[in-house]
């Protein structure tokens, strides 16, 4: 059996979800022993394409050929059995089970029908050591910090004898050393003839380890080239669908480069520590009219900081001041009264009430204000909704459409409107453009810009560097729950942010390794 032709060939893949066309004749071809990048903005369809490959979704049309054979994986288990291993962006492991159990779940080493715990632990330890990880494999997975959990997920994926390993944003929680280790592993796989699909939006990494790149935009495949043949700027331009010259000129996001005129200090947080271990000692100030970017690796405490400020999580230590006066928010309702809003990271689990309409979702926080004697004033409600549908250009069949039918971008607009209709003074935005198509993304970025121009203070958490660089007036960097750097506008650059995220301020001396909690 000669190995000719690409290992993987996906052709003409289409997939439609209610209300949105996720993929339109998309394609992907991965050579043997190659590391192949898949890039595209959020909402371009990369995730959907990968999920079809790995059996999590079923395609509506198209063919998938693996190693010369047509395949149609109905389930992740089938994909695994067919030789395709996956490392997901969210660590898809079970928290209560031990590290070793997670690595071997579904194919536990056995002796006489019972689990051979000693062998399982030994093999798990060995696998992790190859990745430079030393942990007690008997501990529950959830006790480790996020980066280590991701390494366990990687260990699991590579322990199957796969032909193809799919990595979906695998470095989102890893520091520089761990990324280097991962790249070593990828090179080992390559040498052994295993192909790797590397989904990422980190240009440095893509250029560092990948051979070819497939670029996706709006559900289609727009390019498939060797990385040596395309410059970074060109790559970005292709992802955005803009002309190269335009990207050079006006940047990659909907933000303009101009700074905002920041005025009085709205909020100051000093030494905040939250329940649990993710927020240790964080500081941040936000002034009216400015956009403060909050950067950090996965698990660095950004979301926890926003939630602590908002009163969504209890604060164990530290001070919080609004307008110079100390405050203590016991619940989000208190923060809302003080004119603060929080748009959470995960729309699905914390943002939208899926069964309710757009109208109800939009006015959820406004209910007390539009109710008289406990009865909702429908007319006022309708008026507010109509106003914001127009202002934010929300695409919907009508205010009574169920919010779960809207696209990600439109859902996010509704969630932003939830706060805007309260006329807030400060907005905490956690990954405001995540999972949104390119068009809406630009719109939302422009909106945030507008809001800051009109005097709102904004704290913007983002893992997309261009967004932080182009959008923020200042960037605060968190690492392990602490503020490690505050970059003024002039000092903000991709390198500066990444360095601060990975290593912290110079001479920190803190060793990252081992597991987080006692």
């Amino acid at each position: 059996m000669t190995a000719t032709g690409p290992l993987l060939h996906m052709e003409g893949i289409s997939k439609v979800f209610p209300g949105v066309r996720a993929l339109e004749e998309a394609s992907l071809a991965v050579g043997r022993g190659q590391v192949h990048a898949v890039m595209g903005q959020n909402g371009a369809g990369k995730s959907t394409l990968i999920k079809i490959l790995t059996g999590a979704y079923r395609r509506d049309a198209g063919t998938v050929t693996l190693d010369g054979q047509p395949v149609d994986f109905h389930s992740p288990q089938q994909a695994q059995a067919g030789g395709v291993s996956t490392i997901y962006q969210e660590v898809n492991l079970v928290a209560f089970r031990s590290v070793a159990e997670n690595i071997f779940l579904g194919r536990e080493p056995r002796r006489l029908g019972l689990i051979d715990r000693r062998r399982m632990h030994a093999e798990a330890r060995e696998l992790l050591e190859r990745l430079g990880v030393h942990v007690d494999v008997a501990r529950p997975l959830g006790a480790l910090n996020v980066a280590l959990q991701q390494m366990v997920a990687i260990a699991r994926a590579i322990s199957f004898e796969s032909k193809l390993v799919v990595m979906d944003e695998p470095t989102s929680s890893l520091d520089e050393a761990e990324v280097a280790t991962l790249f070593d592993v990828i090179r080992q796989l390559k040498a052994a003839g295993v192909s790797v699909i590397f989904v990422s939006h980190r240009l440095d990494e893509v250029y560092g380890i990948c051979d070819r790149v497939t670029i996706m935009r709006d559900g289609r495949t727009v390019d498939d080239r060797a990385l040596a043949d395309v410059s970074r700027l060109e790559l970005v331009a292709r992802m955005l669908g803009k002309e190269l010259a335009e990207v050079r000129r006006s940047g990659a996001t909907g933000f303009t480069d101009a700074t905002h005129h920041a005025e009085q200090r709205l909020l100051e947080a000093r030494g905040l520590r939250g329940a649990g271990r993710r927020l240790e000692h964080a500081d941040v100030q936000i002034r009216a009219g400015e956009i403060v970017g909050l950067a950090g690796l996965l698990g660095s405490g950004r979301t926890e900081l926003a939630r602590a400020i908002f009163g969504a999580d209890p604060v164990e230590a530290g001070e919080l001041e609004v307008d110079g006066r100390p405050v203590r928010f016991g619940s989000p309702a208190d923060a809302i009264k003080a004119g603060i809003g929080l748009a959470p990271e995960d729309r699905k689990s914390e943002g939208i009430v899926p069964e309710m309409s757009l109208r109800e979702n939009l006015t959820l926080a406004l209910l007390p204000a539009i109710s008289r004697y406990g009865i909702v004033d429908r007319r006022r409600q309708q008026e507010v909704v109509d106003r914001f549908i127009e202002r934010l250009d929300i695409k919907t069949t009508g205010p009574d459409q169920k919010i779960r039918e809207l696209s990600g971008g439109n859902q996010q607009k509704v969630l932003l409107a939830r706060w805007l209709c309260l006329d807030p003074r400060l907005l905490l935005l956690d990954e405001p453009t995540r999972g949104i198509d390119v068009g809406a993304k630009g719109e939302i970025q422009a909106l945030i810009n507008e809001l800051a121009d009109s005097g709102l203070g904004v704290l913007m958490i983002s893992s997309e560097l261009e967004e932080l660089i182009e959008g923020s007036d200042r960037v605060v960097v968190l690492r392990d729950g602490r503020t490690v750097a505050e970059l003024p506008h002039e000092a903000v650059s991709e390198d500066a942010i990444m360095e601060a995220m990975a290593e912290g301020p110079a001479g920190d001396g803190e060793e990252q390794g081992g597991d987080g909690q006692g």
Partner: protein
């Protein structure tokens, strides 16, 4: 805006206007309504004297306490919870009332209405406190009173049957207004109020938001704990009222029997009616229809000589079928 006016039919709420979004909910209940209609038609044709007022009133009377309890249950389930204690709370109310109106107090009868209901409302709040402040899962929290509540009623009455005769008190169970049994009117009133509240009040919308996505509701400033406390309290209150009706009808209070299996019946009514047990959506009309379906089903089977035990099996099949069909329509 809501005016008391006749009986409520499908899609028609007392005085409240229909909004476009409501039509979807109605779509859910069309299936159930159709099933109910079929049952009614069948009985009209094949059961003797079904369409007489007597027979209609008998059915409505039997189902009234269950509907009242199921209204509260709908609210609790809409927040994603459950209340297993309602049957025991009915027993408690039923045990307390005779003790009060048999005293030589001024307004004894009025107190015999108010105090037991307040007591069960208080027990309901107790459930709510366990859920909101002490982190109990609703099933466990209400399990406590499910177990202990009946015991409390039994201890209070020493497990003995307490027969009584008090026409003033028993009006709630035996009285009639223009020929219509009082508890049927009470049932319809409770139904209307709950349906209206769910649809038009801030409280009602917050209940649904909590069940739909509690984390999102909390982040949006909804007073989650207060609302949850309220629904459990309301459930307790309504259980108390139902308990009073039952003992009034029977002219006796038997702590061992009052409210037995009512929690199951109420939950079944809610499920058959189309409210998902996971919360986030509530069709109060559906619950009413669900309760009527199950009641009529039993009635139909019994009138045609089917043993009660077999009726149980049929009920089970109907419940599963209803829930299954709802799932199909959802996905």
């Amino acid at each position: 805006m809501a005016r008391a006016e006749g009986t409520a039919g499908v899609g028609q709420l007392r005085g409240a206007r229909l909004w476009p979004g409501d039509l979807h909910d109605l779509g859910q209940t069309y299936g159930a309504a159709a099933a109910l209609l079929l049952l009614i038609l069948y009985n009209a044709v094949f059961t003797d004297r079904f369409l007489t007022t007597d027979s209609v009133y008998v059915n409505l009377t039997q189902v009234a306490p269950i509907v009242i309890v199921a209204m509260g249950m709908t609210l609790v389930i809409a927040t994603g919870g459950i209340d297993l204690s309602v049957g025991s709370l009915m027993a408690i109310a039923g045990a307390l009332a005779p003790l009060i109106f048999q005293q030589d107090l001024p307004f004894a009868v009025a107190l015999a209405f108010v105090l037991p209901v307040l007591a069960t409302g208080g027990f309901g709040l107790f459930n709510g406190v366990l859920v909101t402040r002490f982190g109990f899962q609703p099933i466990i929290a209400t399990l406590v009173l499910f177990i202990a509540g009946r015991g409390i009623a039994q201890v209070v009455t020493n497990g003995e049957l307490q027969p009584f005769r008090n026409p003033a008190f028993q009006y709630i169970g035996l009285g009639r207004v223009l020929g219509v049994p009082f508890q049927v009117l009470l049932m319809l009133a409770v139904f209307a109020v709950v349906a209206w509240a769910v649809r038009t009040t801030r409280f009602g919308r917050q209940v649904l938001a909590i069940g739909g996505n509690e984390a999102a509701a909390r982040l949006a400033g909804v007073p989650v704990n207060r609302v949850k406390l309220a629904v459990y309290g309301i459930s307790g209150l309504l259980a108390g009222i139902a308990g009073l009706i039952v003992i009034a009808i029977n002219s006796s209070s038997d702590a061992n029997q009052v409210g037995l299996n009512v929690e199951l019946a109420a939950i079944a009514a809610v499920a058959v009616g189309g409210t998902p047990l996971t919360g986030g959506r509530a069709t109060v009309v559906g619950t009413l229809i669900g309760a009527l379906i199950l009641q009529l089903l039993r009635f139909t089977l019994l009138s045609h000589g089917v043993p009660d035990a077999v009726a149980l099996v049929v009920q089970a099949v109907i419940i599963v079928a209803a829930v299954f069909l709802q799932r199909q329509r959802q996905t």
